[in-house]
Amino acid sequence: MCGSGGSSSSGGGGSGAPRSTVVCPPRRPNPDQRYTVSCQWLDTEKYCGDDARLEVTCTPTPPDGSVDIEVLHPSGNSVLAQFSGHMTNGRMEGTWRTKAHAANWRDARLRFRGTVTSVGVMNTSSNQFRFRRRPTTEWSKIDRDHRCNGGFAPVVELHDARLEDNRVHYSMKLKLTGAGLSDARKTNAKTLVENTWNGGFNNRKFHRENCRRGDACDCQFDCCKAGFYLDLNFVTSGEHIAVEIVAAPAPPAQTPACCMGRTGARWYEPPFDESSVYAHEVGHALGQFDEYSTGGTDPSGTQPATPAAGDENLMSTGQNTTLLNRHYRRVLQYLNDNAGGDRYKIIPP
């Protein structure tokens, strides 16, 4: 019965009320009769991945039979999806599993065409469907403490955040004190930190929990999915956190570990490991705990004090820039707090 992306039910009125059933002989089309087909979306706005209901009616009542549904490209020149339903007593109700077709899905207004095959009459929907947009927000400051195990100061979430059309956008501003960093080293640090946190999300998406296509959803656009982007900037005022830069000791003395917090942040320059240390420290200002036994670990256990074999990551192991879904859980929380009640999760799980 169903074609691509749709399904149907049928019957007069669509009411769920119990009715008596009269068995009638099959109707035959009357070649002299003029049939009128009406098509309309019952749901005119849904999120991508929801099922949108549509209805086709035909008067006078034609023989029961199939109805072909074609969801039309906004240009009207092509078909985005097609499926069949069954009309009973002159009415067919179906659903289209909505799916954005292009990057400009926000502007799309979609009609569908219904063809009652038993009488060979078609029509185009009288109304239009559009995709529901995820809310967006203005910049706001996130400022939260998260208690650590072992007597360490809380890790913080201390940055600005904004929900944009296609992503959650974080902006963190650090003011460097002490020895500071040269412009070239600032650029290097910014690039490494951003590449680590943004690159770590490259193969992930925030995805609507209610998307009917599930985790395997192949949507290519920011319709039922959202991304993440972190901006790190070094500023002279208006900072979220002040970081004291200390020149690392000359060899053979070993460079001490950096530390990060609402206060008392200290970074050694150069760090012991260029590839991971500053990104690890920024992680602490994104609400991430240490995942090593002597650090400020997570009382909830969401971030284990020692990661499972193969799960070593930026917050656990030097020279490792791997990030896991759990490291984006606070970004997910921000998205869910601002997505108008439509919850998201991270895919792949």
């Binding site: 000359a250 090593y292 400020g296």
Partner: protein
């Protein structure tokens, strides 16, 4: 009142702190997991002794006057990553724990106790039990910029020990073997920016102790035994002339195949090597 157990640790290394443990009997054990703070002593391991009655009495006194629980510390204020001391005392149903970081002034009474405990550590550290030494030898830089040499892991304490085999499988936790080199510049000119680091690219066994194979996860090292490996690496030398070179061997695996493993990071002794001008900026092979 005497303590039942004292634990004094220093988070020098993220994965495993140095830990001194003293029992009420006076039995004292000190485990080190990095020699970063004492680069001239290329050893880490386990040290044990029994404190004399006088030493034990003095330690109890140091913990009781003033009482540890009354000493100011930095609990709840030490930022993640800070190199902190932790003092934990268990005494008949009560556990008192203090955390002292580096980002705030330390109360003089607390500092006095830390200094005392450091003296206890120094005493215990004179009694090696299971100690792993990493020796670097025969290092040289070729005209093409390749660096090669020999590393030797030796058990230099009176008891047998075991450690990760640098050639062993990467699971369940890898062994990280790397090299550091810096030019021999006058004091004041040399900075941390001059340190070149690189992973050891090739390793082959020269000598293995009985019971170890080139592919085994663990190398058991009976007291006095050693294992030797030839290594090769390439560093991005930025200038010619004499350089100081050392190895760093790091492994987080604390137990495997029924062995307690000496783990942490271990820096080798330092060697001088001449770097020819042809090795500067040499392309990777």
């Amino acid at each position: 009142m005497s303590f039942q157990e004292l634990e004094y640790s220093l988070a020098e290394l993220s994965t495993a702190p140095h830990v001194l443990t003293v029992q009420a009997s006076g039995r004292a054990r000190y485990e080190t997991h990095t020699n970063a703070a004492w680069p001239d002593l290329p050893e880490i391991g386990v040290y044990e002794t029994t404190l004399t009655a006088d030493e034990l009495r003095a330690l109890n006194q140091a913990l009781a006057t003033p009482p540890l629980r009354d000493l100011p510390d930095h609990w709840g204020r030490v930022p993640s990553g800070d190199r902190c001391h932790r003092i934990k005392v268990r005494a008949y149903g009560q556990t008192t724990e203090k955390l002292i970081g580096t980002r705030e002034p330390v109360d003089p009474r607390t500092q006095k106790l830390i200094s005392y405990l450091d003296q206890v550590v120094a005493g215990v550290a004179r009694r090696p039990v299971q100690v792993l030494r990493l020796t670097l030898s025969d290092a040289a830089v070729s005209a093409g910029g390749a660096l090669a040499g020999v590393l030797t892991l030796a058990s230099v304490g009176p008891q047998d020990l075991a450690c990760r085999n640098p050639l062993g499988p990467p699971e369940p936790a890898p062994v990280r073997l790397s090299l550091e080199a810096w030019p021999d510049l006058p004091p004041g000119q040399l900075t941390a920016h001059h340190v070149a680091r690189g992973a050891v690219a090739a390793l082959e066994p020269l000598k293995l102790p009985p019971g170890a194979s080139p592919t085994s996860l663990v190398v058991p090292l009976p007291a006095g035994e050693s294992a030797a490996f030839r290594w090769r690496a390439r560093l991005d030398f930025r200038m010619a002339g004499s350089h100081t070179v050392r190895l760093r061997l790091a492994s987080d695996l604390s137990r495997a195949a029924d062995f307690n493993l000496i783990h942490g990071e271990l820096y080798s002794n330092m060697l001088k090597v001449p770097v020819p001008s042809t090795a500067v900026g040499a392309p990777a092979p």
